[in-house]
Amino acid sequence: MMAAFIFVVSVVIFLQFFVFYCRSLIAVSAKQALSPEVQEVTGIQKTASGEDFNRVMQLLHLCPERPEDRKGIQAIGAYFRMLNFVRSTVAQLAPSIRTWTDSERGHCTYFAAIALERRISFSRDMLAQQIDA
């Protein structure tokens, strides 16, 4: 009985910490501006939409991977899937939650676009180093 109680409490708190952590990652990237070329490639001008997330992720996977951003992208991917689940279940009953999930999904897309920007500049640096060598 005690173990079941601990399990339920832990899962609820885990979800809470996970959501806050993902939002903190998104908040850090939200302060950065997208370069015009990434805006053009992703089609994101001012606000990003959750519908573009998968497309931006596909572009992201085309770039050489940076080990230091892999886990962050995986965490946001998991957060995005969780938001999709909430959107297709609980949000059907409460419009305010639907608005919130839509806005959060847009932030996830923006995070992915910033990661894409970093990978592009990382690739450029690598290429420049190779040319110099």
Partner: protein, 212 residues
């Protein structure tokens, strides 16, 4: 640890780095014991759970490190230290009392019980620390991320231990789930040290905002 050294944050987050160092040593030790004695051996089980109990105590001090950073300006470090030692002693005594009543294999079950209880105590303490961060309007992004990652890690392991208690026969699942959960903390702390500048600021109330 490498990320912390590279960003000149090793001394500031000393206990976090100490825990990561201990974790590395424990992993190497576990591998050696596993190689020598094999997975189903009693020796490996003893080594695993006793090293886990030590690591949990290390993590408990890492949490204390985060507490002292959040309450830095209040000069309450001495009280925090006394409170932490009392709570640690209390948890160990409680774990011993539970095992003493319910089992004759005190030595083998004590480490498991202590780890499980410390994960839950750590989880509650991290939750309290998160409350303090919101209340005190702490804005250091790196510190906030370190606390949130620790909270996710403690809660994941508290849930894992509770599930292991509920379903002890699903060993095939636990042997993959537990190491996977173990990746949460190093990965999240690496991101915080690598990506987030010490000077970066963030309003924590924005993270906790809920839809109305």
């Amino acid at each position: 640890m490498v990320c912390a050294v590279r960003t000149n944050a090793f001394r500031r987050y000393f206990f976090l780095n100490l825990y990561m160092g201990m974790s590395f040593v424990a992993s190497v030790g576990r591998f050696q014991v596993l190689k020598h004695w094999g997975n189903p051996s009693l020796e490996y089980a003893y080594f695993y759970f006793y090293s886990d109990a030590l690591l949990t105590i290390g993590l408990y001090f890492a949490l204390l490190n985060l507490y002292s950073l959040v309450f830095d300006e209040m000069k309450v470090e001495r009280y925090l230290r006394i409170g932490a030692v009392l709570l640690l002693g209390g948890t160990a005594w409680f774990s011993y009392a539970v095992i003493n009543q319910s089992s004759h294999r005190i030595l083998s079950h004590f480490a498991f019980e202590l780890s499980q209880n410390l994960y839950f105590v750590g989880l509650v303490l991290t939750y309290v620390l998160w409350g303090a961060i919101l209340k005190l309007r702490e804005t250091r992004t790196r510190l906030i991320q370190l606390v949130l990652a620790l909270g996710a890690y403690f809660s994941a392991f508290a849930a894992d231990y509770a599930l292991r208690n509920l379903y002890p026969n699903y060993q095939a699942v636990w042997q993959y789930l537990t190491p996977a959960l173990g990746c949460i903390l190093p990965a999240a702390w690496m991101i915080s040290f690598f990506w987030v500048n010490e000077e970066a600021r963030l309003a924590p109330s924005r993270l906790a905002a809920v839809p109305r």
